[in-house]
Symmetry: C2
Subunit: 536 residues, 2 copies
């Protein structure tokens, strides 16, 4: 007999590129965000929470590496307005700073934490919704504001437990602009060349020095045979840019040469040490501060020479030196702060200092390669974002922490418990006594103990213990008719049970029984005692 076809059932799936977070994952993030907020608050930053939805025109188009037609955002039309999910927390801040400019204190220090959305091709570990945690100062033109953000970033990383395992790398986009000016690429008619040069520098990690050099000249053929046209710079122009790209290496070469000319053995040795430190960031924390100070000072001098013909470049070098001095005065020395021209921070809206927090310990990736953990936060100065709305320049600088990267780092260092303590489970032997089981649980909860009654079908007692196991429960309470008649309950140590199950010999556990009978009126005290014993 033909039946009517039922309506097709909806599929229970997370949308492509999104994911769900369970239990400990959520709790860990919540705790970490609270630790970060505490530091931000201490620095005088106030929380701001904007909604996930903005107008498309307010968001603007600042996403790097956009390879999709709708430009990296989730957008839709609503009553004639185009709305979109925010792709970061900076664009909404710029909108707020413009919208409430007459009401907000100036400077306005704010922090924000929450999800952002990117309409990008999902990949391994790359999701379309993820958390950011930002702090920005709007209305402060002084690089003291940039220095403060760097100090706060250092304190934040220490607050979450990464003291001695990070460096903050600082650069200034004005130095890069100075290099372009010195290379004769500053005119309005040179925009195309500048674009090629900037993109090439940004790809240094991937292409290497040779690849970047090729793109500065005629161009580069990649492994697949595809040809990318270069900027067509002359040998001399390219040399200036490469002096910047290879600043680290050349600076050391120059200084070694100078020292050798002067036969200064101490300086030669110091520079040699510094070079090996720089190439192995794990050792940075071992550096003597004096060596680090010297290295940063050398870098400033090297950059100053490189851009001395460019006023904007020189300004950038001055700012870099000032940030370094301000941080040193607050106790953030060269063991934590490194001047590093290779920090470019994308190609977006930055106009001055840029900075990046890098974790210096090694991790083994999925291909079993050992590599540096790398960047977990970055930011910089963006003096033109608020101007989009108001027409008036408003200086601003700030940092964004990649919350999921930072959590992954804490996992890598073993600083996060991956399992949360489960509840004490009161099992159900006699369904008719549910009120009495609930009363036990109410007493435990009133004493601050995480506890629950088993609320599934109580028929199969084995299922109740399996449930307790799955919940990672420390203790099960068992009571049937006989126990209730005698005013007692059984208390079962599930942690000890698991240890005994794993152990070859049960001998050693003899004096600590896995299960015992206690008076019902002692329930709370006995559970507290057993939890304390387990924590030992």
């Amino acid at each position: 007999m033909a039946k009517d076809k039922p309506a097709p059932r909806p599929k229970a799936v997370t949308p492509k590129g999104f994911r769900d977070y369970f239990g400990a994952e959520v709790a860990q993030r919540t705790r970490m965000l609270a630790q970060i907020a505490e530091v931000y608050h201490r620095y005088g930053f106030d929380p701001l929470e904007t909604s996930g939805v903005e107008t498309v025109e307010a968001l603007g188009k600042f996403l790097p590496d956009v390879d999709r037609p709708n430009e990296g955002v989730f957008a839709w039309e609503e009553d004639g307005d185009w709305l979109a999910l925010r792709y970061d927390l900076t664009a909404p801040l710029a909108r707020v700073a413009a919208q409430y400019r007459n009401d907000l204190p100036s400077p306005y220090r704010r922090y924000a934490m929450g999800p952002v959305w990117r309409n990008e091709k999902p990949g391994p570990g790359r999701f379309r919704q993820f958390y950011q945690c930002d702090a920005d100062t709007v209305g402060a033109a002084s690089v003291a504001a940039d220095a403060e953000i760097c100090a706060m970033l250092a304190d934040t990383l220490e607050a979450v437990g990464l003291a001695g395992q990070y460096v903050i790398r600082v650069n200034n986009r004005k130095v890069l602009n100075g290099v372009l000016e010195v290379a004769g690429l500053s005119g309005d008619d040179k925009e195309a060349e500048r674009g090629i040069v900037l993109r090439a520098i940004d790809k240094l990690d991937r292409l290497g020095v040779e690849g970047v050099r090729a793109l500065l000249g005629e161009g580069r053929k990649d492994e697949s045979g595809d040809f990318t046209k270069g900027a067509g710079l002359s040998e001399a122009q390219a040399e200036v840019v490469m002096g910047f790209v290879e600043a680290e290496k050349r600076m050391n070469e120059v200084d070694v040469r100078d020292a050798m000319d002067a036969q200064d053995d101490a300086v030669i040795e110091m520079i040699g040490r510094e070079m090996s430190y720089r190439s192995n960031p794990n050792k940075l924390v071992e550096r003597e501060k004096s060596v680090g100070d010297l290295a940063n000072g050398m870098m400033v001098n090297y950059l100053r020479q490189l851009v001395e013909a460019s006023p904007v470049g020189t300004e950038g070098v001055d700012e870099l030196a000032l940030i370094y001095d301000l941080l040193a005065a607050q106790g953030y020395g060269p063991d934590r702060i490194v001047i590093d021209p290779s920090v470019v921070r994308g190609l977006g809206y930055y106009t001055g200092p840029v900075y990046e927090a890098e974790l210096t310990f090694d991790v083994t990736d999925e291909k079993r390669n050992v590599r540096n953990f790398g960047s977990v936060a970055g930011g910089g100065r963006y003096d033109d974002l608020v101007k989009r709305f108001t027409g008036q320049a408003v200086p601003a600088t700030g940092v964004s922490i990649g919350v999921d990267r930072l959590l992954a780092a804490l996992h890598a260092t073993g600083r996060l418990d991956t399992t949360e303590a489960g509840p004490v489970v009161v099992t159900v032997m006699d369904r008719a006594r549910m009120a009495e089981y609930q009363a036990m649980v109410a007493d435990l909860r009133k004493a601050g103990i995480r506890a629950e009654v088993y609320l599934g079908n109580p028929k199969n007692f084995g299922n109740q213990l399996k449930y307790a196991d799955k919940r990672n429960s420390p203790i099960a309470i068992i009571a049937g008719g006989d126990e209730f008649d005698r005013g007692v309950v059984q208390i079962k140590d599930l942690i000890l049970g698991a240890q005994i199950a794993q152990s070859a010999t049960a001998e050693e556990w003899k004096d600590r029984p896995q299960q015992r009978e206690i008076g019902l009126s002692d329930l709370v005290a006995e559970v507290q005692q057993m939890l304390a014993d387990q924590a030992r």
Copy 2:
């Protein structure tokens, strides 16, 4: 001379129906959510965080009162799939419970907190993004699970500071179904009538008893003259339904009549008291528990008589009585738990017990009317939501707290500070000494004191003090060249300053100077002392 027109500037506006939250508003919500999470956690619930985006098919169509073509959600098409922002936290939970059904513990207790989005006409105090905070138990058929949620809701309201100011009203949708059955409205051919009756009951608050009665019969003409067709029930059918709608009133009348017949003065007095309590919820907290117990018992008996011809209705009354007993056994008595047939909770997916937390204190609304604060949370049992995906019934029950309503309630009771303590502000007299100002602030922060250097243009000193005022700063630190030379700073008590400014006579403040000079090395200790004095 004609200039090129510049590109039009984007408007700095929050999208229509959305809003921004600043400073204390964000901090208060964060704190309240942490308090709630702590209670949920103690009850054995685990956090779950799904993303803001779901497939439209997974969300389903369960929004009440949808008056817009795109059915109340923000949705868009993406690579051929329709995606949407979640409109609540229950639909994503049902999806998760189906998707991970082989991996999750059963029962699965989870809590979730976060924003949800509704594509509705914005109105005063009604926004298109708002927070919910839910706790649900999936896989527990027993009403012990519903009772537990009610107990947890009570503990939650007490944890945020509302002890003695709420009642939790409990009902059961099966009782309502029983009433419809007794009224002869249970057949498949009576769906249209049932719909009209349910909508009429749900509008009791707005239409009053007369209005509902009219809609049960021929229909009702509203003030504007529009006519709404009624369910066309007979007098006898309508009488059954009105016996439910007016349960509170009729129950008392019946009992008073019985008592008068029996000349039982004590019962007559008790019922009279109970009636006045019920009509004035403020007095509920004053009720003797015995009277409350009697009232709830009378209500159970009344409902049992009303639906005795209906098996499903009788089952509903039994469940109500059991929930009440389970809660009483855990110490949640009639001062907090009220059986109330007027609780219907929309017309959506509920299949059994429904519950609602009502705050019992009065507030004055924007029209200067004094009214009961009303509902801040509600929920119930929805046994069919997971079945949508899997085809297999999965029992589930849970509650949703309206986070913004609850925050508003805490404001109304004066339990929230509306201003946050601002940072200590170190002012800048000499821009060249920024490193020294920053070092002062670093010392204060290291001691856990919220502090910052003024980072705006320091030229106008008055602006710096205005800034400190706007930030609600307790203390300003002032030091120029002269102070630095002598190793001192000025410390200025801004709280005292504000008090003196308000006071008619400065006499009383004489022994507590508003500003004084201290040694630079005593800065941290002196600031700590002044903050402690201010807190007194």
